[in-house]
Symmetry: C2
Subunit: 413 residues, 2 copies
C-alpha cells in the first residue's frame, strides 16, 4: 500500500508497472507507466524533476528508453517505485496521473524485425495432424531447434485496432482454379511476444547466458491467421499472406524485472539440445509461468499456460542470432501459439475446434468454427509476482471487420 490507495491485488499494481505510449487531447504521444486505472505521465514527471533521461520519455515509442540498457532501465524502475511510494512526491505525481480511459494508447514499440517461433510441442503437433496428416506430427527438426520465421513488422498493431478480414487465394477444388475471396477460416493465435533491446553487431551471436540482457519485456500477442490462405500458400517458403495482414500486441509492455517470480524450469527437452542452446547454468534456461486466457465476445474459450512451452525464450533468442544475425532495439519475437495437451488450453481455434469440425459454443449459444465478422477476441494474462501478488499482463483485443468497412485505427483505453 502507498498513498495511492491501490490494493496489493489490484490489476496493474506496484509489482507490474508496465510501460506504454499514450497521448491525450492536444498532446503528443509519450511514455507512460500504468498504475491501477491510471497512467503516470513519465515524460511530464521526469521533466518536472529534471531527470537526466527525461528526453527518452518524450519519444513516441519505448525504443530510446529501452536502448539505455538493462542497468539504466532497472534504475528507472526503482525511481518510479520511489515516486509512487514516497509521500514527498505525492503532489507532483498526482498532477501527472491521468485516467487510462481518457487517453489514447499507441503502439508502444517501433517494431524493427518481427519473428514468430513455433515453440509449443502440442501446437506444432496439432497443426501437423491437421495440415499434414500423411506425415509424422512433428517435423524431424522440431526437437533440435526452435523453428521460426520472419513476419511483417509493418502490420504489428496495438490492441484495440480493428482487423479487416483478409482476402486471398485458397486451395483449388476439382476445377483446378483457386477460389478467391475473404478468408473463411480466420483464426486467433494466443502468443507471448518478447520485446528486444539491441543493438548487436552483424556477425556476432547472443549466447543463451546473455539473453536476459536483451529481453526488455513481454507483451500479449495475437498472431491473427487466415488458415485457408495459409494452407494453400505456405509450401515451400512458409506463411506469408495468411499472417501478414495484422498482428496485435498489448499496449503495455511488462518489463522483465517484473517477471522474476514467474521464471520456472522448462518441462524438459529430449533429445538433449546442441551446446549453443544449453546455457551455462540451470537458470539460463527458463520457462515462464504465465497464465493466459482467450475470450471470444467475452466467452472464455481457452486457458493456455505458457509454462507448457518446450523452448525457452532465451533459446529462441540464441537460435535467432547463432548465424550472426544482428539485433536492433525494437525487434520483437513471439513464442508461437501457446497450447498444452489439454484441449481447454489450446491457443487457436484451429486446434480448439479441430479445423472447424468440432465447433465451440459461446455464452450466447452461438457456435464458432472460426471467427465471424464482428467477433471481438481478447487475450489476457497474469503471472505470479512477489509476496503472492499478481503481475498483470494486460490484454490484447481486436474486432473482425468485413472487407471495405470503416475501421477505427485506435481504440480508447
Amino acid at each position: 500500500m502507498t498513498w495511492l490507495e491501490l490494493a496489493d491485488d489490484a490489476p496493474f499494481g506496484l509489482s507490474t508497472l508496465p510501460y506504454g505510449v499514450f497521448s491525450d487531447v492536444g498532446t503528443p504521444p509519450r511514455v507512460g507507466v500504468r498504475v491501477g486505472d491510471r497512467v503516470l505521465d513519465l515524460a511530464g514527471v521526469a521533466r518536472a524533476l529534471s531527470h537526466e533521461r527525461a528526453d527518452v520519455f518524450s519519444q513516441p515509442s519505448l525504443n530510446a528508453f529501452m536502448q539505455l540498457g538493462p542497468q539504466q532501465c532497472q534504475e528507472v524502475r526503482a525511481w518510479i517505485g520511489q515516486l509512487l511510494e514516497d509521500p514527498a512526491h505525492r503532489d507532483l505525481v498526482e498532477r501527472h496521473l491521468v485516467d487510462v480511459d481518457s487517453v489514447v494508447l499507441h503502439l508502444p514499440v517501433e517494431v524493427a524485425d518481427y519473428v514468430d517461433f513455433y515453440a509449443s510441442e502440442s501446437h506444432a503437433s496439432n497443426v501437423g495432424k491437421i495440415f499434414r496428416p500423411e506425415s509424422p506430427d512433428l517435423p524431424p527438426n522440431w526437437r533440435h531447434l526452435p523453428i521460426g520465421y520472419h513476419g511483417r513488422a509493418g502490420t504489428v498493431v496495438v490492441s484495440g485496432t480493428d482487423v479487416v478480414r483478409p482476402a486471398g487465394q485458397r486451395r483449388p477444388g476439382s476445377d483446378g482454379v483457386p477460389p478467391f475471396g475473404p478468408s473463411a477460416s480466420l483464426d486467433v493465435e494466443c502468443e507471448v511476444g518478447f520485446v528486444i533491446r539491441g543493438p548487436t553487431e552483424l556477425g556476432a551471436s547472443v549466447p543463451v547466458s546473455e539473453a536476459r540482457e536483451h529481453l526488455f519485456g513481454v507483451v500479449l500477442l495475437n498472431d491473427w491467421s487466415a488458415r485457408d490462405i495459409q494452407a494453400w500458400e505456405y509450401v515451400p517458403l512458409g506463411p506469408f499472406l495468411g499472417k501478414s495482414f495484422a498482428t496485435s500486441i498489448s499496449a503495455w509492455v511488462v518489463p522483465f524485472e517484473a517477471l522474476a517470480e514467474s521464471q520456472v524450469p522448462l518441462p524438459g527437452q529430449d533429445p538433449p539440445v546442441l551446446p549453443y542452446l544449453r546455457g551455462e547454468t540451470d537458470s539460463d534456461l527458463f520457462g515462464m509461468d504465465l497464465h493466459l486466457e482467450v475470450r471470444v465476445n467475452g466467452s472464455l474459450v481457452s486457458s493456455p499456460q505458457f509454462r507448457d512451452m518446450y523452448w525457452s525464450p532465451a533459446q529462441m533468442l540464441a537460435h535467432l542470432t547463432v548465424n550472426g544475425a544482428s539485433l536492433r532495439t525494437g525487434d520483437l519475437f513471439a513464442s508461437g501459439t501457446v497450447s498444452g495437451t489439454d484441449p481447454a488450453t489450446y491457443g487457436s481455434l484451429l486446434e480448439r475446434t479441430w479445423n472447424g469440425t468440432d465447433p465451440i459454443v459461446l455464452e450466447d449459444g452461438t457456435t464458432r468454427g472460426f471467427l465471424e465478422d464482428g467477433d471481438q477476441v481478447t487475450l489476457s494474462g497474469w503471472a505470479p509476482g512477489p509476496a503472492g501478488t499478481r503481475v498483470t499482463l494486460g490484454e490484447v483485443t481486436g474486432t473482425i471487420t468485413p472487407q471495405g468497412h470503416p475501421r477505427r485505427g485506435h481504440s480508447l483505453g
Copy 2:
C-alpha cells in the same frame, strides 16, 4: 553530351542518375546522385539554390525523398537533368561534385519490411529438383501466385560490407545428431530488389494497375544463402537462419523513371492468373529487360536475364497487399533468384553447380561448388536506355570472411 564531358555510353551516364547516400570526411550522410565517376551532392546544391525540398536531401536515407510521391520525384529528376545540362549551373554544380572514390557509400534506404519472392520458373524448378526430388519440380501453387516470404530487414547491408560465414545446424546423419558449424554450402542469389514508396492504409490493397506509383526504384540484391542450414530448417515455416545473416544491396537506387525503355512483355502465364493479378491494360503487367552478371573473384560465372522472370514486379506488389497488408516507404521486395533455362543464366551456385556436384572453374583454375572464405562475389547489370544508351544498374559486392574474423563495416567507393 553536356559540359560534363560525359560520353553518352559512359557508365552512370545521364540516362541513369541513380540516388544514393554518401558522406565524406567530417560530413554527415546525405543524398547524392551518381554521375559518371562522381557524386553530385544533392543536399549541398539544393541548399545553395534554396530548393524547396532541400531538407529531404539532407537525410541519411532516401526515405523522406521517396515519400514525396511520384510526381515530385519526377520533378526532382528533371531538375537534376537541368542542373547537369545547363551551362548556367556549371560553377555551382562543379563545386558539389565529388569523386566517388573519395566518399563512403551508406545503405541508401532505411529498410522497413523486406520480402523475398520466388518468381523465376527455372529457379523454382531447379530448387525443387535438388531439394525435393521425390515431388513435382514446381509446387501446385507456383503458377497461381507469386510465392514470397518475409526476410530480415535489419541485416540488409550496403554493397561492400563483408559477409561473415554463418554457423548453424545441418541435417543429421545416421547418429541423429545435427552437426553444427560454419555453413559448408554458402551461396549467392542474384536478384533484383524493388524499393517501395508508401504509405498505404492497413486493410487496403494496391491493384496491379497502381503498382507503378509505389515502385520507386531498383537495386541489385544478393540474397546470400546457406544451403545446408536452409535445407534442415525450412520445413514447415520456410527459410530463416539460412538467409537472415545478410542480404546485400547496391549502393545506388536506379529510379523507375530511368527504366521506361527496359519494360517488356512477360514471357507468358499459363494457366491464366486470377483477376487481381491481371491489371487493366497490357502495359500494367511488364517484365524488365535487365541484363545481369554474377562474378566470383572476377570470373564471370553466370549471366541471368531478368526478362525470363515469370511474374511481373507489379503482380508481386499486388499479391503482397491483396490481404490488406499495408506498405511503408522503405519496404523492399526482391524478385527471387533470376535464372533462365540455360545453365549459363542460373543465378545461384546451387543451380550452377547442381548442389556442388558439378563445380565451376574460375579463371585462376580453382573450382567452386559453393563459396570459400575470401571469395568476392559481385553482381552487376545494365538495362537499355533511351536512344541506344545503357542504364547502369551498378553493382553489389561482398567478400566472405570466416567466423571470428575482423570485418569492414563499409567499403570505400
